[in-house]
């Protein structure tokens, strides 16, 4: 036997270094996930083509949300569940479950960065001054784009981590993706028929992604009710809820209490933001 039995000892106070190294490791694992690579490829393909005569942004801007957000959610769900079989070993290491969860949440930076790049490319293809953005002010148009492209790219993967921590069913992320996709289509279809209905505005915005303009089959572009800025606040609150819900799994003592309190605050903020998003903006749909 040539191996020695006298290794170097790791430093005991290595929490921060361990977290950084673990986050980097998980990020690398996520970056080569086939589902995520497919999502990136699809987004690049769609945004690299000539938009031609785009008359409304909503014909294009859902694609990064679906791929980077939706497929990103499935990829992080898989990543989170991937160590489940090894939990008897992984679970007795010095790195706690919430710390491992936090490292997985860091992974969402990758699709978020991709979403940011997609947003820049989108603005390059369709400048903010273009009539395709509807009746919104320039700043509101930026809010619409951030809320429809960048934030879903962050929120989807975070939701995938939370789902992975709490749900064992292997197809949970795909089912949730279908539910969210179906919900988005349903409330959009309802909003077309009654664009000024306040309950429908709330229902339309009660989602991680929402349209703010629609051309439909007419020659006119309709800008819907709702404040893009407060909708952004609602989305960010949902992101916070996803992170906190994920961190809650395995949290103990004071940390658990803090997370529960923070969840309460985030939930309250989300409700306020949703109400403000639904009541803000235009008082009625604007058709031009």
């Amino acid at each position: 036997m040539t191996a020695t039995l006298a290794p170097a000892r790791p430093a005991a106070d290595a929490d921060r270094a361990t977290f950084a190294a673990l986050a980097a490791r998980e990020t690398r694992r996520f970056a080569v996930n086939p589902v995520f690579l497919f999502a990136v490829a699809m987004t690049v393909w769609v945004l690299s083509t000539d938009p031609g005569n785009v008359t409304e942004i909503d014909s294009v801007n859902w694609i990064p949300a679906v791929f980077l957000g939706g497929f990103g959610m499935m990829a992080t769900f898989w990543l989170t569940r991937s160590m489940g079989a090894s939990e008897p070993v992984v679970g007795v290491t010095p790195v706690t479950l919430p710390a491992r969860t936090a490292a997985l949440c860091v992974v969402a930076i990758v699709p978020f960065a991709c979403g940011g790049l997609a947003l820049l490319r989108f603005v390059q293809l369709i400048p903010v001054g273009d009539p395709a953005y509807g009746a919104f002010s320039p700043s509101a148009r930026i809010a619409v784009l951030v809320g429809q492209i960048a934030v879903p790219s962050l929120g989807g993967p975070l939701l995938g981590v939370a789902l992975g921590r709490w749900v064992r069913f292997p197809g949970a992320a795909f089912v949730l993706f279908l539910i969210l996709f179906g919900w988005g289509n349903l409330v959009t279809a309802l909003s077309i028929s009654r664009p000024d209905s306040t309950p429908l505005v709330v229902l339309r915005l009660f989602a991680p992604f929402s349209f703010f303009t629609l051309r439909g089959n007419t020659a006119h572009l309709t800008t819907w009710r709702g404040s893009p800025w407060f909708f952004l606040g609602w989305q960010l609150a949902l992101c916070a809820i996803a992170v906190l819900a994920a961190l809650l799994r395995g949290a103990e003592g004071r940390a658990r209490l803090r997370i529960v309190r923070a969840l309460g605050v985030a939930g309250a903020v989300a409700v306020v933001m949703l109400v403000l998003a639904a009541t803000g903006g235009f008082t009625h749909a604007v058709t031009a």
């Binding site: 006298a6 361990t18 991937s82 007795v92 706690t96």
Partner: protein, 293 residues
């Protein structure tokens, strides 16, 4: 110099209505302690308690003077712990090196060069140095168990808890692993459960026999074996007086029991004989508590 130790006082663990452990008192110090017992005796539950994977429902556990009920102290224990569970699952697509490297990272080996050297060292210890790049899913059961053992050996921890480490491992590797564990046990507390009595006989200075969640023997292996002296004999037929008998390779029957005929052909008892005698339920079988040394 403080000697590493583990102590359990009145430890019990239940799963619903099932009692897995009841009133277990133990003190463990550096050396190899073997855990024997039938299926469902509570061996895995006891090891999971020692590995901080499971809290007791009553009683007190102290590992290296730390209380696993206190989160910060539990982390302190885990920094000095190696644990090979009975059923170690592996993530899809991982090679042996990648898996052990991932666990090393979770064990706070943050410097890549030192970590990789340590991973190579433990893979070498378990005889997998040539298979580091092989996907775990493509490995045999014995090789997978060695991967699970390799991660437990990371950093030569002061406490090593192994649940059936040699199951499915070939004889040559078992001998190698005995050498490795004996070396580690010079300074570390090594607790292993197994159904292989020959591993316990060859490796452990102390054996604990569990039955229905209680300790029914705790003492030196030699003492347990000596209790079987004069109670093991060979015969041409299974002896009705024996509590256990089986046909050996020579065609004769090995009998183990408390009631021995005067004309019996006695043979040297093994640990397996002594274990069977302890478990045999012969009329002269002493109550468990009285047999505890």
């Amino acid at each position: 110099m403080v000697t590493a130790s583990i102590s359990l006082r009145g430890v019990g663990r239940t799963f619903g209505a099932t009692r897995a452990l009841a009133g277990v008192d133990l003190d463990l110090r550096p050396g190899v302690t073997g855990l024997l017992g039938p299926n469902g005796a509570g061996k895995t539950t006891l090891l999971r308690l020692l590995a901080t994977a499971l809290p007791p429902t009553r009683g007190q556990v102290r590992v290296l003077g730390l209380d696993p009920d206190v989160p910060a102290e539990r982390t302190g224990i885990r920094r000095q712990l190696g644990y090979q569970p009975q059923e170690a699952g592996f993530p899809r697509g991982f090679t042996a090196f990648a898996f052990v490297d991932y666990i090393a990272l979770l064990k706070e080996w943050t410097q890549p060069a030192a970590r990789h050297a340590e991973v190579r060292r433990v893979l070498d210890l378990v005889g997998l140095s040539d298979l580091g790049a092989k996907r775990i899913r493509a490995m045999s059961g014995g090789q997978r168990r060695r991967v699970a053992l390799a991660q437990a050996l990371l950093g030569s921890p002061p406490v090593l808890v192994l649940d059936e480490p040699t199951t499915g491992v070939d004889p040559e590797q078992r001998v190698t692993l005995r050498t490795v564990l004996a070396e580690i046990a010079r300074t570390s507390i090594v607790v292993l459960s197994t159904h292989q009595t020959e591993d316990v006989a060859a490796l452990c200075e102390r054996v604990i026999v569990l039955d229905r969640g209680r300790v029914c023997y705790d003492g030196p292996v030699t003492d347990l074996v000596s209790q079987a002296a004069g109670r093991v004999w060979l015969a041409d037929q299974p002896d009705p007086a024996a509590s256990a008998s089986w046909r050996t390779g020579t065609g004769r029957y090995r009998n183990v029991g408390a009631r021995v005929r005067n004309d019996a052909e006695h043979v040297e008892p093994s640990l397996e004989d002594a274990y069977l005698l302890l478990r045999g339920g012969s009329p002269e079988h002493e109550p468990a508590e009285e047999m505890t040394s």
